[in-house]
Assembly symmetry: C2
Homo-oligomer: 109 residues x 2
């Protein structure tokens, strides 16, 4: 699973790729041309970003006739969110324990 | 904020760096030597990982006498979690609307 988290975090470290994810999340599957349209970059550059997303498992694409349609895969996003949520809970738990300790020390006679 | 998300996602795309974050989250601030101990890599290599974490804002370090102590900064982790949670909520909202639409279509006479 380490390699998957590596690839997903790495894929999300670029603003173009995050914008593609945001678009797919908001509007559902979309053709490559529609995803490329709002980005001021050459198509081959944009296709390289799509390849990184696809290699990480965050998206998959299917050819329907002459159009390639890109779909989001929710599972890798959920894995990354789970990892972060685990860290936050552990962090909050540690702060709570520290606070309790400090309070207890204040109550000691 | 785009650059900060870029740097934080990129910093988290490596298993050694995630292990350092997990350790700081679980046990609180720690000296560089203690953070390095469980990793089977040369100290200079490990220090490069720490530098990436520090540049992203995920950790800061302070020299206390001859010991450099590393602290986690919770804010960047929270920002990344927020971005992911926004995506998941939007995704679930879209699925709910699709489901409602499908149900409504089934009810049509």
């Amino acid at each position: 699973m380490a390699n998957r988290l590596d690839a997903v975090f790495s894929a999300m470290s670029d603003p173009t790729r995050r914008a593609v994810i945001e678009r797919l999340v908001a509007d559902g599957p979309a053709p490559v041309s529609a995803l490329h349209a709002p980005h001021d970059m050459a198509l081959p550059t944009f296709l390289r970003h799509l390849k990184v997303l696809e290699a990480s498992g965050l998206v998959r694409s299917e050819k329907t006739g002459r159009v390639r349609v890109v779909h989001l895969e929710a599972a890798p996003l959920a894995e990354v969110e789970d990892w972060l949520t685990r860290q936050r809970r552990m962090w909050e738990g540690r702060l709570d324990r520290l606070e309790a300790l400090v309070r207890k020390m204040g109550e000691e006679p």
